[in-house]
Symmetry: D4
């Protein structure tokens, strides 16, 4: 199976990005995690992105905050699908990260997920790999069914909680 | 090759969505275009999404405006990657569409592109299919190189334009 | 009397939604509370909405956060009035929920109340039922008068508090 | 059948509000239209709202722009359901109107629809009246089915349009 | 000297509004503080506003949050200058209050100060009364000079603080 | 009677500011209009503001756009009430002007009116002068009554317009 | 004198960026203009930025729109001051460009000017070069004085325009 | 070497501004720190700005919050480059400060950095001085290399942290 790269602009993003790592592990998808900064180690970003397809990666998740250029810079150097994960910083409630990632110009898309939605970044990566991997598609279906069951169980438990209000 | 579905919430979105259609044609990617409304024909949305993988689709592009639920509703019924294309309506400058599409809850991602960026939706679809299709990956590389050449040509022409300012 | 449905997208919304439940109890309005997710249990949403009128419901309150599609998905399947209650999530201060709920396209309205205003969702539901229920209309008048009295009492107490500043 | 009141803060709102009037006519719902300003004729607002239920109204639609207080002022004086219709003015793209209408304090809800969504205000009014009016509920069902048919027809026509792109 | 009215929509606003009360006391300006709600006690608002000029008031400060209609409702019933003080609520960071107060339609202005700026509301009230009161104008000049002196003293102390960084 | 100063940051603001000039003329209030820029002629701003009270001004209206500092700079040098009029520029829909004017720090208020609301700036100036001028207060009352009459006339005419929709 | 680089992400930005070019010509500052895209010609961006100081540049102006990464990418590869000029695109009114440029992470600043303020980008470049160039500093002083004179002339002409309103 | 001025509108800004002071010390750049308020000590601002170039300053950093006029007021009186540092206040998450600083009108730029990015303000000041100071340029290069090394070290450590998730 192709690997997923999980790149973050700063190791301070790890508490959020961890959600993606755990989800990839749950799906049994091979991955590599990296700290690469579009602004502080731009050559590492370039080098990584240029060789990513050749190195066996199928999807790249790029997480960054504020003027979040990491996903766009990676996307500039590869034709692999790049998933952008906006990280909320201390101001602007993540809106700056979201717009910096999603509003990419014509020709170089970034597949953007919700602010801080690390698990969804991993699920989207799995969905992309599952286009040509029936086993993974089956695991995604199980995951979806489990989610539904969890909601249905909570639905059943709700009545008694509501009675006590 | 797997097909791409291009779904729009209203036929009034076609002038924007046309950019995706043209780009898919340029890449030689088979596609089907549909008008399906999450709110007016929800059963068509459900039926389409549930059978999409079985019907040979690999990626779904869903374009909608305002409280844009189409991409999310489709994503609720499939594990295929769903690309959300926010359409700008007469108010809010597309921010409502963007947030309604990108801010998906845990478990059900939508791969969101920029407001009105129909060509990028198609390119992202191509990138996703190209993960397991070397021929398409090669076409994406050519596309990227052509874009670079176009910029470089414009760069050369700029000097005389600037001299005349 | 017709029943009110109180649906929430996640049981984590209950601390907010509880305000609606308590208010309905205070008014003596029969209700049922459910956890139904537009994205994780879409078929439950469809089934509930399609049979709601037949099952004796008169109004549906739908509470959700982020890209809040629940109210719109319910409204797609029923002609009962649907009240949308935006829940504030960890980013965007509820603006994403509000816009995802209120900016519904032509033909399928959602009656949206303020972000987190669970009590107002219940009062609006009562007002809707009271259009054809004079007893409930009388209870709403009493509620309104009590609110006024409470403000007037606080107005009287204010002077001494202000003197001590 | 109870009447619907359609109140606008200024006659300059009529081009937008006309959509509500036409929709009410289509449904055969009796209505009265008024120009009443929360700020310029506050006593007319008070007088209208206080006597609305007694005068045979079942629902009030209040349309206003900018610091749109009309719906809230009407709601202060009645327990009828009040539908707020935000009108986009020359600045702020309707966000000021939307927030001024929807963010009502505890105890006094306004059922807010999308910015400029006059038809949806009327449909919501019809849904409210239809809670206890099976004939109107049937007309709403027909309306919903017609909408679906229109979308399905557009879906059929789309293919040829797309082929020509 | 004419009195200043300090009206708040809810007694929960008092911790913020207290800043206005203290400032008025410091200036020796007579005032009355009231809890009056535009939505819960609209008749009290009307009665207060209509008789304010006759009752010896020169300026009215109106503080409210969310869809803050209080200042506008008061301004509808009087030609006295009304100062609007937006209160930040639990969502939207005060933007809803600000826009609901400042974006008044043509003909009925509200003199709006910064979100939560209770002291500035009081200073503005003092400035308005001082237009025709030379003694108060002199006190405002002293206040302005004291503010300048405080800044200058802090400027002097800064150097040592900076040296220790 | 004290004079009103109408200051604009650029003569390009005159088409908007003209509304204030006309309103002041209608009220028969003496005024002087000036082009003074906080950034290009800061010394003129300082000189004007410092001598404004002595030169017979009672209120200052300051209109500016973008990072609109004019009102704040004037307010720094005078204890007269300063009315800030935000002008919408080519971007940001006036939000930048509004926030730059209204969010003044503690100690130096600016009485802000709606974006582009030049007539309201003049009416507010009149209200301020009328605190100690009964003749002007009477004219303001007449103005308010005329506004109400205009709305009531439009209310009467509405019915036939609505019938024709 | 060191040169100024004027880089734009697309030749479609030239109508705005022309204002910077003209201003640099007026100041007699040598410059070079380039079309370089952070996303389409990233290697040209890297090459340009790495060699800019050695090639005699003192300041770099980078203009871009939407998810505007150009200024940040250039700043990643040089220690020259980089001036970011946000270009307004068809949606979001330039807010996306502004936040993508100004919200740079710790360590890599971009000196951001107002949305579309090409002349100010050039003036800021001139101010930076003038720190060590007294001749240019003198020309900036003249420029500032001329601006003041222009405002003062408009101030004189205003009176007659106002009389005719 | 020319000095850098670090001006803040209030001593309450020092905890943020300290980051700029420390960074300047690290670079060995001479500086002076001041508390000067555009609104409370406007004459100090004028006096400082007019004499800054003559007093040996090369760059001015101006930090302020809310309706942050300090940078603009300083820039009005000098042709030195002025760096604006927006400080986040208790509401609006710094957006008011950012827009008040960055959206300067034509002719008077302010070089704006990210909200609260004190270190970047200092680095930008260093970059400006380094245009004509090769020693400082070398120190900036070392700083940039150290940043890269820090990121690379964190990249190496990441693997084990990720394994433990």
């Amino acid at each position: 199976m192709k690997k997923v790269a999980v790149i973050m602009g700063s190791d301070s993003d790890l508490p959020v990005v961890a959600g993606a790592v755990r989800q990839l592990k749950d799906f049994g998808i091979p991955f590599e995690a990296r700290v690469i900064s579009a602004h502080r180690t731009p050559e590492a970003a370039e080098k990584f992105a240029k060789s990513a397809r050749g190195n066996g990666f199928g999807v790249i998740i790029a997480a960054a905050g504020k003027a979040a250029h990491l996903a766009g810079v990676i996307a500039a150097y590869t034709t692999l699908p790049v998933i952008g994960l906006p990280i909320k910083s201390s101001t602007m409630d993540g809106l700056d990260s979201l717009l910096s990632i999603v509003q990419m110009p014509s020709g170089v898309p970034v597949a953007t997920v919700a602010i801080g939605a690390a698990d969804n970044a991993a699920i989207l990566a799995a969905q992309i790999l599952a286009v040509s991997d029936e086993g993974l598609a089956a695991r995604l279906n199980e995951f979806k069914e489990k989610m539904a069951l969890t909601v249905m169980e909570k639905d059943k438990k709700l009545q008694s909680e509501v009675d006590n209000l």
